[in-house]
Assembly symmetry: C2
Homo-oligomer: 702 residues x 2
């Protein structure tokens, strides 16, 4: 691989004339990229995905001990960080058709030829974490994806949900919202099933013949929808053993029993329903006509018993201490807990983290430590509600705001050869530059990740930048980015068919069938992590691109203007796509983008003339670190004050997407004119702070 | 309804300023339109769809006798026209999984609550007419829709078809081509099933809860693909008892056993297949992963026994003799045979024919006979291969070419409230004008059929004409239009959900559930038939619009140019969308359209000035009758000489669509440059003849 990387580096040296492109890529980085090993990635995978390891269950601690051993063997300074969150644990579950005839429905997967792990004795029963406990019997109602609009359709159609057991498909929103809306509609219980039309045989051959969900596949997962990440009982503070806690009765956790099932259990119910047919688009892939109601004669019993209690679990942190700025740190993280064996979720990311840590650890041991500290973090209890990382962040929010250069998240990162990233705007350039140095996985033509990535589309406002996603909810970056304001990014490879998501089939055998035996996606993601962390840890000035915040704000103000227009909150939309009421803010964003670009060019000039002495460097660093913090508002966004970053939050309605400029978005969704005006003022204040950061930078450069 | 029709007529009188619009609609027609009766339509339906009546089986003759009685009671001159075609008859069929375990698969429908007719003792077993007889056992291959491209895909994927039993879905082409392509690929047998994704529960609730195909629904139907319509043994001549006949061994009828089945039988096989997964788009709605092959351990046996023999069947003709031109005739037809009870196919059309005949018969009896004769025809053995009508046409081709003003086809015509028509270009205006006189079914706003129809789209070349379809294959117009050159049209109402097509569920109960109890679609189609036939039978000059042939030819030359361009048969495409090699022909079409428009205006002037004396009228009539005949070429189209109309034929590859300008189309499909040049010359000759007809018309007007 040496030749290929060197060839790419040569090209980079020729073509990168941009302000931030390094004309002399570090030959140590090229060697490090070359030394990423598929054999080691596979070894880590074999070690960590061999048994179930759910947070709070016995496999959890064994995984922690294994990770400590690995980090230690790489020469990192290892720390076990214990937290005491409020975790749920399944005790019992039953699903039966009780009338016209009693039929007990299967709730768990079974082993398949070539994969015995689904029958591992420590496999935890299929469940939705934090389900209410209860034993309910009733008629059934089919609610499609159980989104807000689906329950609205049922109400329009006069379908009674109250007192009934709702049957809903996975997909379309975060499962927690299915439970929340079902509960709000008065449902007695909720059964969530995997529809073959969404991820089973309608898409391709099911496991073990192919990578798609078979009829036994059950998607587990948390259904918490509280307005903050982390431990439900300690919002905003670290869940230490002795922390002050909320009384659980005051926390809006689910009350009705909720149970995930596979297609085979759902089929038994769906095929016996006798009510009216479903609206267009509600029919799924289980082989029968879907109906809105089961009719009087079909009665189903759902019993769920879960226990909730404060339970210890652990983050594992392995630090390479920076040689120049030990207090400044780049954090690379991935959770370690899983619903079952977790070969994909999370270990497909963890193995990339470990390989990066191994290589950088070896370099440090050979006398080449990074300039800044690099913290490798294996988070606990992510699956229950992004708990381990959020608690760690809550415990050191101010120091992170001051010292954390970036957070890179690797959850489930190596799932295919197509690289992608959702990232804070300020980190996009450093990631794109790293992509120029990394060979594209499974590409015989010698292209870099950057080449393949940008061929799929470029940033409309910046043609040399590939398309990035906006950071939303769903993984361990949330505490860093949305709560503490640390520039963050998720790195990942996609593009393989199939899914074993949150099922007992998320095993090494499934992963190797679906993603491949060659570990090329993991090699690529490990190299991307290495190259990105390298730049963040070693560049003399943290390689941020604050001007992107101007352009991204403009793009999202245009998108929000059309939403706001539809809601009657803005008047005429200008030629730039931005409504009159947002024009001043847009002007600020435009002015900031232009000022920031100029400042970055000044910085570049100082850097290339060698004029960055220690005094200047310290001032420049402080100024650079203040850009992301300019987005932090201690009051938080409306209704969810834990989310303090005014640039992005998780989507409040589906839990899947991100809301960019969430204070404005909330006001638009609520149709609240006063909140809209208030949000606009808060964003103008962000730009006052961003301009102050620019002024600080200019002063530091003088 | 009187008020509503009169209101429409008033509007028509005001708005119709076009050349052919009648400023004084006949008040007798308005009364006739008003007198169409839902109760009578329902009575006819009850009488004719109460039992199975397959051509050549006992119910066939009983239906013929019933129709004779009805025609007689309307005062028509009744004729039973006997023919002796070569019909097939099912004797036995078995479909079994023989390994790994023997399972006998169900081949026929069952009664459902509210509908006992599927169990009628005279119900003929589900079969594909003209299947080969045989008893074969083998592995199975799934071939999607068994189109030419599907077998090509199987070959590319290296899937062996030879010696195997092919399982194919209904849809995508005429079932006869599935059998032909399977036989060509060396299949041992073919099982054609109804996929729930195409017409079953994936679309909506199945019968009897809804109108869609349930899992027992079997689509019967002929699989003949010989290059002519009508009796397989007497192409081109009438199948009288003593006609000269081909030896059946020289007729390319299917040789392999072919059996149609419902989803429930197909599911038993599909769910046991173990081979590789299918290409994108091949997965259907039976609840399992579709696979290309069944694997070695799955063996299926198909036994089909059919008898083929020359069997008598009958057309029934009822004539109202014209008072002015008894030799000139308008023919209104619909077949009477069905695969089962035929409530939809064909009786949903037959009832409209009968109601039209009743009303016009009563008018004639009251001293108001039509000016031209109107022949009401109930055709036999349409389902076996458009046999009854084709034989009748073959027996009187020359007199029809001389005297038949138009053929209106009503097969399955009243299936919903949305009116449509596929028509010879020359008849489009008279049909559109009729639509201005008929109230739109189930429309509370008082719109006419024309209003609703044109709101769905207008002819791109003529904004006051609604969109018409091109006449293709599939029903009794084929003999008239494609063989004899009689201007023809199908009239029909669509827009109801569901299907019982060719299954034992095509009953009155199904029809009234799917199409409705109100008979509004049938009222509308009967009125459209009445108004169209009225104009054709009573206008002083046959109301043709020959200029439409110019515009239609131009439109289709443009469409063919892009196909021919892709095949490398034409060079540069002009601004008018027409390739250089077709430019001369296009010029002829353009010139004809312009000359014909001028001639029609002259005709209109003569008509409105009252200058059409008897001598002129006779010459004008002869000239008008010659336009459609100008398209007839006794040599026929390439490879299918029975198709003598160079304007349109059935599609040679799918049997579903129409080919417009089929001699050119054939050359393009074949990529045959010489045939393309030959076809172009033949079309130029058509325009020479069309211009000669114009000259004749001009002379007659002088």
């Amino acid at each position: 691989m040496t030749t290929r990387v060197q060839a790419i580096l040569t090209v980079v040296m020729v073509v990168c004339g941009g302000a931030h492109a390094r004309s002399e890529p570090d030959p140590r980085l090229a060697r490090a990229i070359d030394s990423v090993s598929a054999a080691r990635l596979r070894e880590f995978h074999d070690l960590l995905a061999a048994e179930p390891h759910v947070a709070g269950m016995p496999g959890d601690l064994r995984t922690v001990v294994r990770l400590e051993g690995l980090f230690g063997s790489f020469g990192l300074r290892v720390e076990r960080h214990e937290i005491w969150p409020y975790l749920s644990r399944p005790v019992a579950a039953e699903l039966q058709i009780v009338a016209p005839d009693r039929i007990d429905l299967p709730l768990n997967e079974e082993p398949v030829p070539g994969d015995a792990l689904p029958a591992h004795p420590e496999q935890v029963m299929a469940h939705n974490a934090y389900s209410g406990s209860g034993d309910v019997t009733g008629e059934v109602v089919y609610a499609h994806y159980a989104r807000q609009e689906d329950f609205a359709t049922l109400a329009e159609l006069g379908v009674e949900v109250r007192g009934r057991i709702v049957l809903a498909r996975y997909g379309g929103n975060y499962r927690g919202f299915k439970a929340k809306f079902a509960e709000q509609a008065g449902a007695a219980g909720l059964v969530i099933f995997t529809d073959p039309a969404d991820s089973g045989y309608m898409k391709g051959l099911p496991y073990p013949d192919g990578p798609w969900a078979n009829d036994a596949h059950v998607q587990r997962g948390s259904i918490v929808t509280i307005g903050y990440s982390g431990d439900p009982l300690t919002p905003g503070v670290e869940a230490t053993k002795d922390a002050g806690r909320l009384d659980p009765v005051n926390v809006p956790l689910p009350r009705i029993p909720v149970q995930p099932v596979g297609a085979r259990a759902a089929r038994e119910i769906l095929s016996r329903m006798t009510g009216p047919g479903v609206p267009a688009g509600w029919q799924g892939g289980i082989g029968c006509a879907y109906r809105l109601t089961g009719g009087e004669s079909l009665r189903v019993r759902l019993r769920v018993e879960q226990e909730r209690r404060v339970t210890p679990t652990w983050n594992v942190l392995g630090t390479l201490v920076g040689a120049v700025h030990p207090d400044q740190m780049v954090i690379v993280g991935c959770h370690h807990d899983a619903w079952c064996c977790g070969a994909s979720d999370p270990m497909a990311g963890m193995i990339c983290l470990l390989e990066t840590a191994r290589i950088l650890g070896e370099l440090a041991a050979a006398g080449e430590p990074p300039a800044r500290s690099i913290v490798f973090a294996a988070w606990g209890a992510e699956e229950h509600g992004i708990i381990g990382s959020s608690e760690w962040v809550e415990g050191r929010r101010d120091s992170l705001a001051r010292d954390a250069v970036a957070y890179l998240n690797l959850d489930m990162a190596a799932m295919g050869p197509r690289f992608g990233s959702a990232a804070s705007p300020s980190l996009r350039r450093v990631i794109a530059d790293a992509a120029r140095l990394v060979p594209q996985a499974r590409d015989a033509s010698g292209r870099s990740v950057y080449d393949e990535w940008i061929a799929r589309g470029a940033d409309p406002a910046r043609s040399d930048l590939p398309l990035f996603g906006s950071l939303g909810g769903g993984s361990d970056h949330v505490g860093f980015y949305c709560h503490a304001g640390v520039p963050s990014a998720g790195l990942s490879g996609h593009g393989s068919d199939g899914t074993a998501y949150h099922s007992a089939y998320d095993t090494l055998a499934w992963y190797r069938k679906a993603v491949g035996e060659d570990y090329e996606p993991a090699l690529m993601v490990a190299r991307m992590t290495l190259a990105t962390a390298w730049a963040l840890a070693n560049e003399p000035v943290v390689p941020y691109d604050p001007a992107r915040y101007g352009a991204e704000t403009l793009a999202h103000l245009a998108a929000l203007s059309s939403r706001a227009g539809a809601a009657g909150l803005v008047g005429p939309i200008g030629a730039d796509g931005i409504g009159a009421e947002l024009a001043v803010l847009a002007g600020e964003a435009r002015r900031f983008a232009s000022r920031a670009d100029a400042a970055m060019q000044d910085l570049e000039r100082v850097l290339s003339s060698g004029g960055l002495n220690a005094r200047r460097a310290s001032g420049v660093h402080r100024a650079m670190m203040s850009f992301e913090q300019a987005w932090i508002d201690p009051a938080g966004i409306p209704e969810r004050p834990w989310f303090r970053n005014l640039f992005a939050s998780t989507d409040a309605n589906t839990g899947y997407d991100s809301w960019v400029l969430p204070a404005l978005r909330w006001a638009i969704e609520a149709g609240d004119r006063a909140a809209f005006a208030d949000a606009e003022a808060r964003y103008r204040a962000v730009f006052v702070r961003l301009n102050a950061s620019l002024d600080e930078l200019r002063r530091a450069l003088e």
